[in-house]
Homo-oligomer: 245 residues x 2
DNA sequence: CAACTAGACTTGTATATACAAGAATGTACA
DNA sequence: TGTACATTCTTGTATATACAAGTCTAGTTG
């Protein structure tokens, strides 16, 4: 019943031997044969079944553990892990939609809309050379007339050439960008900061008061589209996410 | 010329030998000594420097590669990867693991561990009657001795009766809870606040300075297990997430 | 019966060794 | 000059071995 691997030589050709063991285990789990908490064969057992050394069998189990597929416990054994949530919550949502969903009126103030040269930080984030031309916009979003988000955005002009000509009082940058350059990926970082002078004035809050700052790099197939810094007054905004296991 | 291993016994005591190598490499990178794209010593070089076998040095490099800290290329060498954002937003992760993953030492201070009665807010969150008995704990988590998280937690005693008897210096509440009551779902809310007196003192920061506050309700099959408020100093913590579309 | 102990598992760490395979640098030869 | 080859780095795969350490079971002992 056990599959016998014939070739003695190590660096066979196509794929390493531990990959075959990983594939086998994955197949059992995906077929439902091995449910969550099922105890998978031990290292020694797998080594025997697949005719490899224990260290090779171990590698298969270790990698699957790192990948969240299995769980191991010294002395007990190796078990199939709970299925992962995988679902990406915390969608990249349009602030205007969010305000509308609350039944409030949306508005904005465009503080800046210009072409400038990329600083080192911006260049790295957008994958451009330092000093390259980039579009730069600063917009304050209003919820029932009250500032709710300070948006500073750097956009890649090679991917979105008509950015500066847009009417952002009609459609937000986010809305426009997702239409012209469908997103494939986004890096998001959340941190707490004290508002500096510029932000405080724009959001009509005291300088130094706690704000939620979100950095977001959005990428489409062609490259990094845009790099935005979104600042919310701490007491007027919350980020929510629901995770499932 | 071959490395002479003095101590014959393998499992020394505190931490494995490859961990020391990982920590060393991390330190060089974090100090700026080794910038992005810097070529790190080869497996053989590290093996010699740290007086371990090549396979042990290799393990350190491999794990750091899996963690996104390094990049390897057969025939060329091992290089420092582009810096990536910290913390992971989506997964409900153990703060102790997160600290350990950074190669830092974890510690905590238990400020409170008691049984009390549920306020209205707590009762609603846990699905209990107002005034019902709940467990209440306050713990400060340390990263290299520096406070990095203030954790205030209310736990449902009907689901986790032995909560108060746990030794939280050994396993964090998160760790313990996920063991005894496997999670099925979690609500997470992130906001920015100014630190109040209690939090400021516990985190050793100035009162009023910006903090990331995370509310998290964790549910298992049997009901709502726990309701936690996690406060991070804004300048010592970031939440990151990578979303795919 | 309870408590301890010894063994038989398990995973975890560490080493020494071998060969495969990618990449760079030199050197010899046409 | 330039191509081909050998050398020497590097990382990647695989094995055999040893001991450490966690967990359970069965047997022994008080």
């Amino acid at each position: 019943m056990s599959s016998q691997i014939s070739s003695t030589t190590t660096g066979a050709s196509s794929q390493p031997r531990y990959a075959a063991i990983k594939a086998h285990i994955r197949a059992q789990i995906e077929s439902g044969e091995w449910p969550a908490h099922f105890r998978v064969p031990s290292e020694n057992q797998l080594a025997q079944d697949f005719n490899v050394s224990r260290m090779t069998a171990r590698r298969a189990l270790s990698e699957l553990t790192d990948e969240g597929v299995l769980m191991r416990s010294q002395g007990l054994g190796t078990f199939v892990a709970e299925p992962v949530p995988a679902g990406s919550l915390l969608e990249v949502r349009n602030i205007a939609d969010e305000v509308a969903a609350r039944g409030h009126s949306y508005g904005n103030r465009i503080l800046k809309l210009e072409q400038t040269t990329a600083s080192n930080e911006v260049a790295v984030a957008l994958g451009l050379a330092e000093g390259a031309a980039v579009y730069h916009s600063i917009i304050v979003h209003l919820d029932n007339g009250l500032p709710i988000q300070f948006e500073e955005r750097y956009t890649n002009p090679t991917l979105v050439p008509e950015y500066l000509q847009q009417d952002f009082s009609a459609a937000t940058p986010n809305e426009y960008l997702t239409r012209v350059a469908p997103l494939t990926e986004a890096d998001t970082t959340v941190e707490a900061i004290g508002a500096d002078g510029t932000v405080a004035e724009a959001l009509e809050i005291d300088s130094g008061s706690a704000c939620l700052q979100i950095w977001r790099r959005t990428m489409s197939r062609a490259g990094t589209v845009s790099f935005a810094r979104l600042v919310h007054p701490g007491n007027r905004y919350r980020l929510g996410a629901q995770l499932r296991f």
